[in-house]
Amino acid sequence: MSGADILFDFLLAALLVLLAWRALAAPQLYQAAIFFIAFGLAMALAWTRMNAPDVALAEAAIGAGLLGVLLIDSLAAFTRGRERGEAGSKHCADEGTRARPMPRVSQAVVAAAGVVFAAVWVTAILRMPEGGGLTAIAGAAMPESGVAHPVTAVLLNFRGYDTWLEVGVLLLAMLGIFCAVGKTGFEREQRPAHIDPLINWLVRFLVPLMVLVSGYILWLGKTAPGGAFQSGVILGAAGILLRIAGFRTFGRLPVWAWKTGLVFGFAVFLAVGAAALPAGRSFLEYPAETAGAWILIVETACALSIGFTLLAFFVCLNAAGGCDGPRQPNRTN
């Protein structure tokens, strides 16, 4: 590692700390959102420097792309609510977009948690097992995994349980949003009378390309960084792009179709996992010869569902149009 290498890493680390601090301390939520987007971009670079391109890919898709859109659009929803002059939303527009300084008690709690976390982190690094812990065992089992990329083997085969539950968490989050906002967002989708011709053109070119790249990343997961999650995020982003431009998404689909789409990944994962049980294997244990095919099926289903779910997040939050007034205290920071 040369001096320039180390300089690069130091500059990146300093930039990350500065961006994180500004994202927390910015006087307005809009600025905080911009700093957060920049932080996501810098974080993706940092992951590449730590030789974790899988995480970098996820961070690029989620941290820099998707979360930024959700944040900016949620802020826009406040403003729209204010412009419509809805009862109660005046309050939330004025208060909601200005970041309030954190109370001293919260600051103390955060600081204490930070110290504890740092201590645990340092201890963990000092006690890192020789030879990389489970790496050797995972490496030895690679031929049975059905894929050539170790990260995919761990996520979808060796620790498939975790990934299945993560898909479940996403589904639960979606149900939570349904409880709060209802599916009015899907029904309220209207195509505006006029779509900007240039944006229209962009969408018609970019959305098919995004779907293509989504499939490419999904397929790539077998041999290189990529896979269901990153692929699903890009798919969701394609849907969000359609929605932002004013096209209808869920509103075009029959109710059963989007309901199926939302639970599809979780259900297929469960079915594939359970199919192993009658054959005398344990839950989610694929037969070694056909493991690759099973993983591809599960990943495809999950990618579709993740894309659907993220789009549903956006559509629901977008249609919520600000907050419901004083009922919600502004826990925005």
Binding site: D196, L198, I199, L202, F205, L206, L209
Partner: protein, 106 residues
């Protein structure tokens, strides 16, 4: 260094120059529209030169095409983004000089 390396070096340096120009423009230009102009043009030109330089180093056609795709996408996306931001600022401020952006500083 081989001729290909020299080509990469030269094109990369030109690319870096344009990136510098973009950043300087963003920092020094007086109003929103000229900043927009500096950013979306200079940076993508810089990226184009860097990509062109890297094309000399890639061993396979597929990698080269992917690099070109990345640059093409960046061009496409940022020109549309430039249009969207410019139009947005124009409809908000109502002047072609971005007067509002200027006034906001005072």
């Amino acid at each position: 260094m081989s001729p290909a390396d020299w080509a990469t070096f030269a094109l990369g340096a030109i690319g870096a120059f344009f990136f510098l120009g973009g950043t300087l423009g963003l920092l020094r230009f007086p109003d929103l529209f000229s900043r927009l102009h500096a950013l979306t043009k200079a940076d993508n030109l810089g990226l184009g030169f860097i990509v062109a330089g890297l094309l000399f180093q890639t061993g396979s056609v597929a990698v080269g095409l992917k690099l070109i795709l990345i640059w093409g996408l960046a061009l496409f996306a940022s020109s549309t983004a430039c249009y969207a931001i410019g139009r947005h600022a124009l409809t908000r401020s109502g002047t072609a000089t971005g007067e509002e952006a200027e006034n906001e500083r005072s």
